[in-house]
Symmetry: C2
DNA sequence: ACTTGACTTAAAGTTAACTTTAACAATTAT
DNA sequence: ATAATTGTTAAAGTTAACTTTAAGTCAAGT
């Protein structure tokens, strides 16, 4: 049975986090996570790394790339449990980015709604679905819609 | 100067939509868009294809993969201007999927907020940041936070 | 001590969504 | 008519985010 507070092996971290060992090694190469080594060169992870990995997972699930996540997490310390301030900094930054993304989605959703609601599909008004002014001016964008 | 309602060449479609010609050919191979051919085998696009391409762009911008977009758009006719019903079917389907995505993001955002608001970072309560029960039970998940 | 299972690395393979290249054909402008 | 531009294909290259493989090393149980 596992001891509390021992350093975790890669397969333990993999099991707990649901992230494949190969991916953990890959993340480490990218500088996203960190491990220490045993005398025999095997990786050992501090338990705080689990939280960091969970954050990475969540960030990915909402569409952040690993490069973006590196930026999001760069102010979170690797080796110590983050302080409240560390955490706040990261969470605020992340929330702002999330808010951005959501605003864009809401905009798209609203415009779609407009298109559906209106009889002629609102193509003339729909900012979303006009590739550019040229098309609009040439009148090739919104031909008659078959009813 | 371009005539209204003529069939569009690939470079015209590319200019209007902002999508590279190579991407348009790629989309066609995937079955996302459609073109007719001149006697000399060059592609010509109906203007309604511009709207379809714009839809593809927008869908991609909110994180749908091309495979997902193929599914979203499969009930939109390729060769004719879509009817109101065609359009409604697609828009409703798409809106539902968007709503799903947004709900997930909101959930994540809320949980992040909880983590920030609480003194101990709410790790024990935060569903989001617990990889699984095991970790929680072993007490390795939420070690003391440095203040 | 020894065997089995877990771990290590480097390098090659995978999928998505394209782009680039090469070699050649069709259109358009003069 | 001819040059310049635009288009065609197939095949190889690109980036992200990994996985798989190969060949060898370490750690744990008996």
């Amino acid at each position: 049975m596992m001891k509390i507070n021992k350093n975790l092996t890669i397969s333990e971290v993999s099991e707990f986090s649901g992230v494949a060992g190969s991916a953990l090694r890959f993340y480490e190469k990218k500088g996203l996570i960190h491990s220490t080594r045993t005398s025999g060169n095997q990786r050992r992870y501090h338990s705080s790394m689990l939280r960091r990995i969970a954050l990475i997972q969540v960030a990915q699930s909402v569409g952040f790339t690993l490069e973006e996540i590196i930026l999001e997490l760069e102010s979170l310390p690797m080796n110590k449990t983050p302080t409240k301030r560390d955490w706040e900094r990261v969470a605020n930054k992340w929330q702002a980015d999330l808010e951005d993304k959501m605003k864009r989605m809401q905009f798209l959703k609203d415009n779609l709604a407009g298109c559906v609601g209106c009889g002629c599909l609102s193509m003339k008004k729909c900012q979303l679905l006009k590739p550019n002014d040229f098309v609009q001016k040439q009148g090739i964008w919104h031909p008659k819609v078959n009813q």
